[in-house]
């Protein structure tokens, strides 16, 4: 029903566009000069069609459920029901009206279900009537108003501005919303677990929190030595470090090759090929690390008499590094290519060779951009989840031995939130606290990276 109505309104919008334009043409044919192109008259009318429709639809979406609920539950007032019981009755009513109610049907509920249905259909048909009449009224009003010297271009431009603004606002508000949900849960978490224990504690053992029966009262002392985040922060940075040890040299060198040495043809094929690496799902990297690289390293280590865990930090970090190569190579390639040719010419004309030019002129000039690309790579490495979950073990060891297994923030969040969890439980909230700290770390990295890149851009514009 709503879909038909919506289609109809869209059709109305097109029709009003058509009428607006037609009126503009008619005015034009009387040799009067218009203030805007004819299609602006059309857009103007279409907007007069869209705005009332949008307003009425949103009003309905906001108020209809509340009003219907009030009216249905009106029958039960003065009968001494509690709010919870009323809610239950209303849910039963709705379920029954959809034919999905399986329990015992009482006449009361049956009556309210009927009432609910009739109210809904009244609401629905009144919505249709109101929307259509509002649209027709507003379009007719606007149609009468437009003349040769009415301003249509400005409102249309303003409307577009507003639409685009709303779109970006939606993105921003979502971010803000996510951050706030993180903040509140994190605060709750730190009410039970002292911040000090979290930041400086060296034992991370959230499984211990499973032991608690949820009916027991919360006793903070039982969580001592449970949520010490040092091992997983260390693990996160350690694995990211290994990843960057792989990604920075290879990525940078291939970036330099692509930008400076590769012929046009090679570059044309090599660059997309390298970028394919970035398109491989991280899950695939994950099982590549867990099933191929991990066991290979273990065998290699055993043959050399080293003890290597099958889920070593080296395997996870190394594969993660391969995943990050395309980011660094592609970004640094772009940065190096955008160093002005005049600098290269200047250096060659002094008799510098290619490698001298790169080392002494191009690399320093491109350095801020390269640093930016590396920082973006680091923040990806820190936020990467799948590879670590699959390849690097879940026990949070505090170690700097790349052959042992460690765990990261992201992997621990996965561990905590897999399976059943209770809201308001410190174990669940720990995930939020971890997410919050991860967010802060990557946020800082991104800000620094963007700053550096921006500084670089200003220099050459």
């Amino acid at each position: 029903m709503n879909l038909i109505l919506f289609t109809f309104i869209v059709l109305l919008g097109f029709t009003s566009y058509y009428f607006g334009r037609k009126k503009a043409y008619t005015i034009q044919s009387t040799k009067k000069r218009l203030t805007a192109l004819p299609q602006f008259y059309g857009y103007y009318l279409a907007i007069w069609c869209a705005i009332p429709a949008f307003i009425i639809f949103s009003l309905w979406a906001i108020f209809e459920p509340t009003i219907v609920k009030l009216l249905v539950l009106n029958d039960y007032s003065n009968q001494g029901y509690l709010d919870d019981e009323l809610n239950l009755i209303y849910e039963k009513t709705k379920a029954l009206s959809r034919g999905q109610f399986t329990g015992e049907i009482t006449p009361f509920i049956e009556a309210s279900a009927e009432k609910y249905l009739s109210l809904r259909s009244i609401a629905q048909s009144s919505k249709v009537v109101i929307v259509l009449s509002a649209i027709i009224a507003s379009v007719a009003y606007a149609y009468k108003r437009i003349s040769s010297n009415s301003r249509t271009r400005e409102p249309v431009e303003k409307f577009l501005n507003a639409v685009l603004f709303t779109a970006s606002l939606a993105a921003i508000l979502t971010t803000v919303g996510i951050v706030f949900s993180l903040i509140f849960q994190t605060i709750d978490f730190f009410k039970v677990i002292p911040l000090f224990d979290f930041v400086f504690g060296t034992h991370w053992y959230p499984a211990k929190a499973f032991v608690r029966d949820s009916s027991e009262a919360l006793d903070p002392t039982m969580y001592s030595d449970t949520f010490g985040a040092v091992p997983i922060f260390a693990g996160t940075f350690f694995i990211a470090f290994i990843a960057m040890c792989v990604a920075i040299p290879i990525g940078l060198m291939s970036g330099i090759y692509l930008a400076e040495y590769a012929s046009y043809k090679v570059r044309q094929y090599a660059k997309p090929l390298i970028e394919i690496l970035a398109g491989i799902p991280t899950v695939v990297y994950g099982f590549f690390a867990a099933l191929t690289v991990g066991p290979f390293l273990k065998e290699l280590g055993t043959s050399m008499g080293l003890e290597v865990s099958a889920e070593s930090a080296l395997a996870a970090g190394g594969v993660m590094g391969i995943m990050i190569i395309p980011f660094i190579s592609s970004l640094s390639d772009d940065v190096i290519t955008s160093v002005p040719q005049s600098l290269r010419d200047g250096s060659y004309a002094m008799g510098a060779t290619k490698s001298e030019t790169i080392k002494r002129v191009i690399f320093p000039a491109a350095l801020p951009g390269i640093v930016g690309s590396i920082l973006l790579g680091v923040s990806r490495a820190i936020g990467e989840t799948m590879i670590v979950v699959m390849a690097s073990g879940l026990a949070a060891n505090l170690t700097l031995n790349p052959l042992e297994s460690t765990s990261t923030i992201t992997a621990q969040i996965v561990v905590i939130l897999i399976g059943d969890q209770a809201f308001g439980d410190p174990k669940t909230q720990a995930a939020f606290a971890l997410g919050m700290s991860l967010f802060l770390v990557t946020l800082c990295l991104n800000i620094v990276a963007l700053r550096v890149v921006k500084k670089y851009r200003e220099k050459y514009e």
Partner: protein
């Protein structure tokens, strides 16, 4: 004395021929101006002289260019040494994003000219003095070269070019991005520099060619139409096209 002798030079960009049969002698310690309308090949010819056209993949050069009787288009020619001897200043000032000092010491460093820090300091100072920039920048040698004004940047580039004591300096429209005052400074400088260097300058300004040069070559559509002393070219050219260009009837 003849410093550079170009014989039958052809230049191709891919299949398109840009220069046809150019033969031109360049006198030592004089200023030679190359003039002609845009796209006539004068910059291309200039870039042949220090083999900067090597940088462009599709560009190929044929013919002989003898500098001190040595053909630089020979396979045995070391481009690094060649460019040490033949400096270049570009149309747009292109200082490196480094300090003033590092800009000037760049050439001596890559050619291993200075033996000590002290020697390098001297080279930087004399180069900047010769480029008439020393007084303006001596207190801020360690600030970035990109912070100078356009005219100062161009003089910095000249200081950079002369830091390795080249025998020849090529200038590709060195004043086209500068205001009249900075242009006058550079022209004065060119006059000074010709005592120690042979200078070849590409310019769009006929007045500039007349002011700074002793010899002039006129290019048109990839051909060298006429060359000779600046006096003769400007006052009494042999060729009708030269006459037309000089008097502003085309170009």
């Amino acid at each position: 004395m003849i410093k550079i002798k170009a014989k039958d030079v052809d230049v191709f960009y891919g299949k398109k021929q840009a220069l046809f049969n150019i033969s031109l002698d360049i006198e030592e310690n004089q200023v030679t101006a190359l003039i002609g309308p845009s796209g006539c090949g004068k910059s291309t010819f200039l870039r042949c002289l220090n083999r900067m056209n090597d940088v462009i993949d599709i560009c190929s050069v044929k013919g002989e260019i003898l500098i001190n009787d040595f053909n630089i288009n020979d396979k045995g020619c070391d481009v690094v040494r060649l460019r040490e001897k033949i400096g270049m200043v570009f149309q747009k000032p292109n200082p490196f994003p480094k300090t003033l000092y590092e800009n000037v010491s760049y050439g001596p460093t890559i050619h291993g000219i200075a033996q000590s820090k002290q020697e390098m300091d001297e080279i930087v100072e004399t180069s900047l003095k010769k480029a008439a920039l020393w007084e303006e920048v001596k207190d801020r040698l360690h600030e970035p070269g990109t912070g100078l004004s356009g005219g100062q940047q161009q003089r910095l580039c000249i200081a950079r070019a002369i830091s390795v004591r080249p025998e020849v300096i090529l200038m590709d429209e060195p004043c086209s991005a500068l205001d009249p005052i900075a242009t006058a400074q550079i022209e004065e400088l060119i006059d000074e520099l010709k005592k120690e260097h042979t200078i070849i300058i590409v310019t769009h300004s006929m007045a500039q060619a007349a002011r700074v040069s002793q010899n002039t070559g006129f290019f048109h559509l990839g051909q060298l139409i006429e060359h000779g002393s600046t006096d003769k070219i400007f006052k009494n050219p042999d060729n009708k096209k030269t006459q037309d260009y000089i008097t502003g009837r085309f170009g």
